[in-house]
């Protein structure tokens, strides 16, 4: 939706209540909008709900407020592939950790494909704790609500280690198969759901009916604890994709490099479209050849440039190493003009939009 210029008199005078920007959609409660008396006409409501569903498709915020709001317009949308590229120690892995932590905290299943052993469970737990604390501080709570055990959200994160492209393709095929099975199961509800549905009829069962339901309540309680594989994937992180692909892209031994790159991109996008998950992919940068040695370019080349939905570049300005301020630039996006840039700081909870307070600890950059 275009940003509405509030100086327009026609709109300021009691314009339509329908939200007009993506950000407004995220903060608007759809039910309150349609409950207001004299609300919306039926066809407006249908259209609005369809739009709402499309725009809102399972946002998975990457966990950095400035990148969320400015560059991604509210977060990564389900069904989109976001590529984050940057030099070493610019915060790519931290961003992946923050995104995984944020998604896990909202009870979404996260599949984290780790190609360079950069994932550390301890660091992920640290990020989860820091995010939880930040959220509690924002909500102004005095810590009255018992903080969830730090290991609680971590059980939603599934880690796969892939050291070559073929194992990554195998993982994607497996996830695709799971998504298909889940879609099938949704269309035809299986036998496990029937005892649950029978339990939901309150007081409608007579005495003999209630007796019959009692023995069946035990297996349904067991059936409710689903295995991780049966949950739909909310976020897929591949860190770092270029480590798998760049070695095979050169001419010499591998003539299939570009085909494997195209196959990976197609598989990632097909999986995102099928399961509605958001896909986050990282890539590193390489210098050019000959006289362009000092210009860094994304490692996966021109044929990759077209594949992701959104591309972001993280950079750490060389002159400013002490202040720790980095900048994220939007390189390609279907909605915003390329070149939009936003600042972020690396802190304990991953990349944040606000500078850390003086005296706070800063996470050491992970060198690899």
């Amino acid at each position: 939706m275009p940003r509405v210029d509030t100086s327009l008199p026609a709109l300021a005078a009691g314009g339509s209540r329908i939200p007009r920007t993506v950000e407004a959609y995220l903060t608007t409660n759809l039910e309150t909008l349609t409950e207001v008396d004299g609300g919306l006409l039926p066809h407006e409501q249908e259209a609005l709900q369809a739009l709402h569903g499309e725009v809102l498709r399972r946002h998975a915020p990457p966990g950095c407020s400035s990148i969320d709001t400015e560059l991604l317009r509210g977060g990564m949308r389900g069904g989109q592939m976001v590529e984050v590229c940057g030099e070493s120690a610019s915060g790519k892995t931290q961003l992946c950790l923050a995104a995984a932590a944020q998604a896990a905290r909202s009870s979404q299943r996260v599949v984290y494909v780790d190609t360079s052993n950069a994932l550390s469970g301890r660091r992920l737990a640290q990020v989860v704790a820091a995010q939880h604390q930040a959220a509690a501080e924002q909500a102004g709570g005095a810590g009255a609500a018992a903080p969830q055990a730090a290991a609680g959200p971590l059980k939603f994160v599934e880690v796969r280690r892939c050291y070559n492209v073929h194992s990554l393709l195998r993982v994607l095929d497996e996830l695709m198969l799971q998504a298909e099975q889940q879609a099938q199961a949704q269309r035809q509800p299986g036998p496990q759901q029937q005892p649950g549905a029978a339990q939901q009829q309150p007081g409608a069962a007579q005495q003999p009916g209630a007796l019959q339901q009692a023995p069946s309540s035990v297996p349904s309680a067991v059936a409710r604890r689903r295995r991780l594989e049966e949950l739909p994937v909310g976020l897929l992180v591949v860190d770092c994709l270029s480590a798998l692909i760049t070695p095979i892209l050169g001419g010499g031994q591998h003539s299939q490099g570009h085909a494997l790159l195209a196959a990976t991109a197609a598989s990632l996008k097909a999986f995102a479209a099928r399961s509605g998950a958001a896909v986050l992919v990282t890539a590193h940068m390489v210098g050019g050849s000959d006289e362009r040695r000092h210009e860094k370019r994304p490692a996966m080349g021109e044929s990759w440039r077209n594949q992701p939905h959104v591309r972001i570049q993280l950079s750490r300005p060389a002159e400013d190493r002490t202040s720790g301020q980095c900048s994220a630039t939007l390189t390609a996006s279907p909605q915003l003009p390329a070149g939009l840039s936003v600042a972020y700081w690396l802190g304990e909870g991953g990349p944040t939009g606000t500078p850390p307070q003086a005296g706070g600890q800063q996470a050491q950059p992970m060198q690899h």
Binding site: M1, P2, L8, A10, L11, G14, G15, S16, I18, R20, V22, H43, E44, E46, A47, L48, L51, E54, V55, H166, L169, R170, L172, M176, S255, Q256, H258, A259, A262, A263, T264, A266, S267, K269, A270, F271, A273, S289, R292, E295, E302, S303, R305, N306, Q307, H309, Q313, S315, S327, T329, T331, A332, P334, Q335, P337, A338, G339, L340, S341, A343
Partner: protein, 328 residues
């Protein structure tokens, strides 16, 4: 007596043969195809684009191909006049084949919203409400998302019922849009076996000898492009459709680019090249080479367009805004 009848029959026949079938006016009324007003000034100002013609919009990544296609789609699905407001569209149906699997519907919604809002304001509507017009437009927009060459060909083969339904609708069928026919160039070029099913084919591409007797000949790059061209020709013959396709180019970087900025290698094979009647090249220069703090990227980008077929040396400058592409 028979001889006389035969003679008069032959004369009758000869006379009938020499009679004109129809006047020129009747012929034009029967075969004249109205040009499509695409709403894209890059096309409308230079060309009367008709059914039976195939326009290819080729560029590197990020130069505005998808925006151009969406602008054409928006102009086609907007109504001509609705509720007393003139929108200047065609009110016809559009079939959009998203071969990149990358189309962002929100971008189309934004474009439509901006244009509807502007038209309503210009007509002096006090409380501009874009929602009903938007819902009406979207009912004419048909999107098919394909994840591989096989799916693309299957979609075209089975597109007839959808196209029939669109052509029978009050506005008719405006055009067929394909986003990025060159997506699967590398995949098809290296394919050695027919797809066993959907995306699983990716991992089965590189092993095993194809059993020709059972599975048929493999789907090579040439066959894909030939099949694509044949399908599109069949659709053209049946529906008199104008077709606009975008193509992703891998522009040579480095020294070659300095000599001629428009030099490019065509990833499509001859059957496709024979089908294309017009070609437009887009390019975007400059832009975020060094990231400045604060939005300096927008001002630095220069967007150029050039007609490649028919050859035209003039270079056109344009810019991309929320409502689409505008000449600058």
């Amino acid at each position: 007596m028979e001889g006389v009848n035969e003679g008069s029959d032959a004369e009758e026949e000869a006379r009938r043969f020499l009679q004109p079938d129809e006047t020129a006016g009747q012929l034009l009324a029967r075969t004249y195809v109205e040009p499509l007003h695409t709403g894209l000034p890059l096309i409308d100002r230079f060309l009367a684009f008709r059914g039976g013609q195939v326009l290819e919009v080729a560029s590197a990544a990020g130069a505005g191909r998808t925006t151009a296609l969406l602008q054409v789609a928006a102009t086609c699905i907007l109504p001509q006049v609705a509720g007393g407001v003139t929108f200047g569209g065609k009110g016809a149906g559009v079939l959009f084949l998203d071969l990149d699997a990358k189309l962002d519907l929100v971008r189309l919604l934004e474009m439509l919203d901006t244009r509807i809002f502007a038209a309503q304001q210009a007509a002096g509507v006090l409380e501009p409400d874009t929602m009903p017009v938007l819902a009406d437009c979207l009912s004419r927009f048909h999107l098919v998302r394909c994840h591989g060459s096989f799916e693309m060909l299957a979609a075209l083969c089975s597109a007839q019922p959808t196209l029939d339904a669109l052509a029978a609708a009050p506005g008719g069928l405006a055009c067929l849009l394909l986003d990025n026919v060159a997506t699967h160039y590398y995949l098809d070029r290296s394919a050695r076996g027919p797809p066993s099913g959907g995306i699983g084919a990716a991992s089965s591409l590189f092993g095993g000898v194809p059993d020709l007797a059972r599975e048929g000949a493999p789907l090579t790059l040439f066959r894909v492009h030939a099949a694509l061209a044949a399908e599109l020709r069949a659709l053209q013959r049946r529906y008199r459709l104008p077709i606009i396709a975008s193509k992703h180019l891998v522009l040579p970087g480095g020294r070659e680019a300095d000599k001629d900025g428009w030099a490019h290698r065509d990833p499509m094979m001859k059957p496709w090249q024979d089908l294309v009647t017009h070609r437009l090249l887009l390019r975007s220069d400059g832009g975020s080479r060094s990231s400045n703090s604060g939005g300096g990227g927008r001002a630095g980008v220069v967007r150029l367009a050039k007609w490649h077929a028919p050859e035209d040396p003039a270079v056109i400058r344009f810019e991309i805004r929320s409502e689409g592409i505008l000449l600058s």
